[in-house]
């Protein structure tokens, strides 16, 4: 049972990304109004905006948190071709009293010549590393050699993906059984014959990231399930912390939740309307979402767009 409630975001334009910190007690949003807002959860569970500042001179596409062991650090990327790293510092006491915190820019990464479409910190066991990808198809991996000095970042790797990149994701596993991996997604509409997702892994021997999915495939990528319930383009997907629940959003304005049962059969367990109103399959309570019944049972044969890279 999921219940949605609205948060007064007060952004002046579209919100492009929203991201929780490691503990789920802070949240950052970014918007076309060129600003980033940081939200803190009060003890009563309400979200309270504690910082809002102009970060870029263009739409801010993505915002992401570093692991808290590196401090309170955010990274953002924008249409203005830059990515930036921000750190919260202890503000003046009156700031604190007003419940506001102060964020300062530690660095601006200006290597991209086109819009920077995504930014992600690497898993913490790799140290303080940051990846960006840009519309011209370049993935850049930066590292802060001194984790105490966030203003120095060196460009470690530059991978040319040959496709306009729209999103990146690190393999979160710290297992030594396989090297670090990044998946890069493309929104290039012209390409249909090869995959739009490329997976790169770090090769210890050559000390650089190598591609493993475009050429001869090292991994067997298997479609576990595929669904077309959104009836239209699917925009975003997100795993929960144990990767046992998947949320997806699509052009039909719905957020759908997916879950696998014991037999690894995925099915839709809930629909939420994007505007917070109850989904079609729900009972009449306002804002409440029941488990979607009969209509979806049939859909489970259809399958969903989730891929899993060899476990």
């Amino acid at each position: 049972m999921f219940v949605a409630r609205s948060i007064a975001a007060d952004h002046k334009d579209l919100i492009h990304d929203v991201s929780y910190d490691f503990h789920g007690r802070r949240m950052a949003t970014c918007s076309s109004d060129q600003s980033v807002k940081v939200w803190d959860k009060t003890e009563s569970g309400e979200w309270h905006c504690t910082a809002s500042w102009k970060t870029h001179s263009g739409s801010v596409w993505r915002v992401t948190w570093a692991h808290p062991e590196f401090g309170q650090v955010l990274a953002s990327c924008s249409f203005d071709r830059t990515a930036a790293v921000w750190e919260e510092i202890v503000g003046e006491s009156n700031d604190k009293q007003r419940g506001q915190s102060h964020w300062i820019k530690r660095t601006t990464l200006v290597d991209s010549r086109t819009s920077v479409t995504d930014v992600k910190f690497a898993p913490k066991h790799m140290g303080l590393m940051l990846t960006t990808c840009s519309a011209d198809g370049v993935v850049r991996i930066y590292e802060a050699p001194d984790v105490m000095n966030l203003s120095q970042w060196s460009l470690q790797h530059e991978i040319s993906c040959k496709l306009s990149c729209s999103c990146i994701s690190w393999n979160p596993s710290s297992s030594r059984a396989h090297p670090p991996m990044i998946a890069v997604g493309s929104d290039d509409s012209s390409v249909t014959y090869t995959g739009k997702v490329q997976i790169y892994e770090y090769s210890e021997n050559t000390r650089k990231e190598i591609s493993s999915s475009t050429g001869p495939t090292k991994f067997e990528v298997q479609i576990v399930a595929q669904f077309d319930n959104h009836n239209s383009q699917v925009w975003r997907v997100s795993w929960n912390i144990t990767s046992t629940l998947l949320a997806s959003s699509g052009d039909d304005g719905c957020v759908r939740l997916w879950k696998a049962n014991y037999m690894d059969n995925w099915k839709c367990t809930g629909i939420l309307k994007g505007d917070g109103s109850p989904g079609n399959g729900s009972s009449g309570q306002p804002g409440a979402l029941g488990t979607a019944g009969g209509t979806l049972a049939a859909a489970s044969q259809n399958s969903l767009n989730g891929t899993s890279v060899g476990r």
Binding site: F2, T242, G276, S277
Partner: protein, 883 residues
């Protein structure tokens, strides 16, 4: 624009009204379904909204285009452009105030009759109405009328003459003198006023786009292009204009008007309408003829200044508001991204274009998403009931289990399944298995009876029934046992050996010791109300009378199943005659029994000796019972084969009941791996592997990975106390996981570590045990460096020398200290710890410092402005599991 196809217009001020115009004008009011459900005549527009027809106006025939008066008063005033070039003011609705009456029916007549193509009200000076007409060689095509101009007698005469078409009887005022006349000898197809200046008018002329400046009508700025239809200004960037020609949309920047800044991909059919979304920047909707989709272009950035040749990012989307072909659409003036579409046969649909929804899961159970400018958070509500519990996500389950100290019960290991909620049969089986394996008495017994098991490098104890059965060294004895309690001397072959006995113990059927009596087990099953299972176990031990007795007891028990009596009756008729009716009936009817244990009872009774597939492969029967059964009745050749097969089955399915077979060996890790793959339950996996696996298994990268992931989960949930407890628990079983000391404090004078020298002091044990009793003479000793005997730094507040042994030396009788110290006292001891700020390096007794910072934000040391307490944001977070 309209013609046979209906067009649609939203009222500029009433958020719930719109007009459909085809041959007549119809005013609709849109309402949410809740309030109009009862009302007849409401046309449903979507799941939530319906429209009611308020008024129809058919006074103006030959309608070509319509424009809604932009000001509040008079409301519902519409200008209608007709096929003969006349522009008529008309109204819909009832409010007839004086001003409205005066304007109603007023006509504006061009000199030469030809079609009126477009109308545009000036948004600032709302008396000005621009009309675009077809070409006439001796006339202008862009006429700007002043609707407030008074009736002029000389103008009325020609008006009388030209009254060709309007057969209406109204004696409306006729105006024939326009305020401005522009665009001679040309046709005008589209018009729009530029918001930059109220006197600038953009017109799509025959072969060019022209900007007329009314302050100087002789001058115009123009650019030759074919894209002259449907000019419209972006409401958010007043320099951005869209126009179209056939299937192509051109986007213009008025600051560099020479050529379009952008042409959008061409559509196969001509476009009929292009409109900027009024509630959102850079969203342009286009409609193609005979199409059922509205194509949206999302220009997600502000137009760049001149000279910057960046490639603009445009996201193209198609939305399909309804099943039918779309005749026209209109954006709602204020509701976000909302539009009404109308089909050629006047079917209407209310529709909202959703923005790209971005979403994220928190480490807990909440999901947040952003839709447009709005944020929504949603979290999983804890539903009650077993069904809800089973449906819940494993993350939620693990969270709850962590809070109930799941896995921490090392004495009564089986109890962990109760801590886990007690509703998962697999976990129950797992923890009972571990309980039997780890049970102390059991261990001693095994060591006594099977010393050779421990001669091997790997103790067989943890290695599960599979290895126990394989390693069978002592001979198996066959014994022919008679049925007790049955008159007939039927004999069943039963196998016995030490290993089989051990296996039965692990299965829980018999207690440890040489005794192979199952009676205690039956008693406990009876207590739990598992009558069928108890009966089956009794039967497998060839005690048919006991089985019948159990069934009877079950039937007579409170709320018991009376059918059990019937089963008991059926049992009592057991006969081993091959061709008896009893046999025949039992073997066919048993399949209809819903309880698996009842089913296998009859399977056992009716099967041939040595062929017990009906029992062994009944998957609904618990693995431990099947294994125990196999250990009793399968021969030495059959048994390992069966166990192997079952083990592989369990491994593949990731069924935790199989841990009984594999034990906590490599095999067990394999099984656990497929369990984790399937469920994601790293918690159970970590605790299970820590419960007594050998070091080798613990070093398996998979096991380490589960443990790390589980610790990470606890950290992410801010269950730091639980994580610390887990680490303690872990270090007990896996000493190699102990972390090193994190902080060393060295003396200012001699540079030696305070704790290091402290632990090397001969009398430290005594010192520690007496430490904490304030004012005790030994305390003065610890205020000095143990190495050089120089005093330690002073507390910034009390100005006393600090002194607390920070080392956690082993063997300091900590445990008994803990017992008699109340919570307050423990904290009192913590008050003596010394702390310092990493930034300014000032410090003091922890208690004093905490006290100080509860009222102050700056460091207590004079002239130090360090905000020591606010430096670390994470430190201010409180754990979620503090109890």
């Amino acid at each position: 624009m309209s013609g046979p196809k209906p067009d649609i217009l939203w009222s500029p001020h009433h958020v719930d009204r719109y007009v459909i115009c085809d041959s007549e004008l119809s005013l609709y009011r849109i309402e949410s379904l809740g309030s109009t459900e009862a009302k007849a005549g409401a046309v449903p527009l979507s799941e939530e909204t319906a429209a009611t027809l308020l008024a129809i106006n058919s006074d103006t025939p030959y309608m070509k285009c319509v424009a809604w008066y932009p000001k509040h008063e008079p409301e519902c005033l519409l200008a209608v452009g007709q096929a003969n070039g006349r522009v008529v003011l008309t109204s819909l609705g009832q409010s007839h105030n004086s001003k409205c009456k005066e304007l109603m029916g007023k006509e504006f007549v061009p000199k030469h009759a030809r079609q009126c193509n477009t109308l545009a009200w000036n948004p600032v000076d709302s008396n000005w109405l621009a009309a675009g007409l077809d070409k006439h060689r001796a006339d202008f095509s862009v006429l700007i009328w002043d609707i407030s101009s008074k009736f002029t007698p000389e103008a009325s005469v020609p008006a009388e003459k030209i009254r060709l078409s309007s057969g209406d009887t109204d004696s409306g005022v006729v105006v024939t003198k326009p305020l401005y006349e522009l665009g001679q000898n040309d046709a005008c197809l589209s018009l729009c006023w530029l918001p930059r200046d109220q006197k600038l008018l953009l017109a799509g002329m025959h072969r060019n786009l022209a900007i007329f400046d009314l302050r100087n009508t002789s001058q115009k700025m123009f650019v030759n292009t074919k894209a002259i239809q449907g000019v419209t200004v972006d409401p958010y960037f007043h320099d951005r204009v869209a126009s179209f020609f056939e299937g192509q949309v051109a986007i213009w920047d008025l600051r560099k008007f020479e050529k379009p800044v952008l042409t959008l991909s061409e559509q196969p059919k001509p476009l009929t309408k292009v409109a900027w979304c009024p509630t959102r920047t850079g969203l342009l909707a286009t409609l193609m003829r005979d199409s059922d989709v509205v194509r949206l272009y999302d220009m997600q950035h502000t137009p760049t200044p001149i000279g910057d040749e960046t490639e603009p990012t445009i996201i193209e989307r198609c939305v399909q508001p309804c099943e039918t072909i779309i005749g026209s659409f209109a954006w709602h003036p204020s509701a976000q991204n909302r539009m009404v579409v109308v089909s050629p046969n006047r079917g209407m649909t209310d529709f909202t274009v959703f923005e790209r929804i971005s979403l994220a899961w928190s480490s807990g159970t909440s999901l947040v998403w952003a839709c447009g400018r709005h944020l929504y958070e949603c979290s999983e509500e804890c539903g009650a009931g077993a069904a809800a519990a089973a449906e819940r996500d494993v993350a939620t389950k693990m969270r709850e289990r962590a809070q109930s100290r799941y896995g921490h019960d090392t004495v009564q290991v089986w109890k962990n399944h109760v801590l886990a909620g007690g509703n998962d049969p697999q976990l129950k089986s797992l923890w009972y298995t571990l309980h039997y394996i780890l049970h102390d008495h059991h261990r001693y017994y095994i060591i006594q009876c099977f010393p050779y098991f421990f001669g091997n490098k790997q103790p067989l104890l943890y290695s599960g029934i599979k290895n126990i059965v394989k390693s069978s060294t002592s001979g198996t004895t066959e014994s022919r046992r008679c049925w007790s309690g049955s008159e007939r001397p039927a004999e069943v072959v039963r196998y016995l050996s030490e290993e089989r006995g051990l296996a039965l113990q692990l299965c829980g059927w018999i207690r440890c010791g040489p005794d192979i009596n199952v009676e205690p087990f039956l008693k406990s099953l009876e207590q739990e109300g598992e009558w069928e299972r108890a009966a089956a176990v009794a039967l497998f031990n060839l005690d048919i009378r006991r089985a019948i007795q159990i069934l009877h007891k079950g039937a007579s028990f409170d709320k018991g199943d009376l059918n059990l009596n019937v089963v008991a009756m059926a049992l009592s008729g057991y006969t081993d005659e091959k061709s008896s009716l009893w046999r025949e009936m039992c073997s066919s009817l048993r399949l209809q029994l819903s309880n698996p244990y009842l089913c296998v009872m009859f399977a056992f009774l009716t099967s041939e000796p040595g062929a017990y597939d009906g029992v062994l492969y009944e998957s609904r029967v618990a693995v431990r019972d099947r294994v125990a059964f196999a250990c009793m009745f399968l021969s030495d050749s059959q048994l390992p084969r069966y166990i192997d097969k079952l083990t592989n089955e369990m491994k593949e399915a990731g069924n935790l009941e199989g841990i009984l077979l594999t034990g906590l060996t490599k095999d067990g890790v394999d099984l656990m791996e497929s369990y984790v793959d399937r469920t994601g339950d790293v918690q159970t996996a970590s605790f299970c592997m820590l419960k007594g696996s050998s070091g080798e298994v613990l070093k398996d990268p998979r096991v380490q990975c589960w443990i790390e992931n589980y610790r990470n989960l606890l950290d992410a949930w801010s269950f730091w106390h639980k994580r610390a407890e887990f680490d303690i628990h872990r270090s007990k079983l896996d000493p190699s996981s102990k972390p090193l000391a994190q902080v060393f404090v060295s003396c200012n004078f001699c540079g030696k570590s305070i704790s290091y020298s402290c632990s090397s002091m001969p009398h430290q044990g005594r010192g520690f045990s007496q430490y904490g009793v304030s004012g005790s003479p030994t305390k003065s000793k610890v205020t000095s460096c143990p190495g050089c005997r120089k005093p330690l730094p002073r507390c910034a507040l009390c100005l006393m020398n600090m002194g607390t042994p920070v080392s956690s030396c082993p063997g300091t009788g900590k445990s008994d200290e803990k017992v008699d110290l109340s919570k307050d006292k423990k904290l009192a001891q913590f008050n003596n710890w010394f702390t310092w700020c990493h930034n300014c390096r000032h410090g003091g007794h922890a208690g004093h410092m905490l006290n100080w910072f509860s009222d102050h934000s700056e460091c207590p040391v004079s002239a130090c402005t360090c905000r020591c307490m606010q430096l670390d944001t994470t430190g201010n977070l409180v754990p979620s599991d503090s109890s």
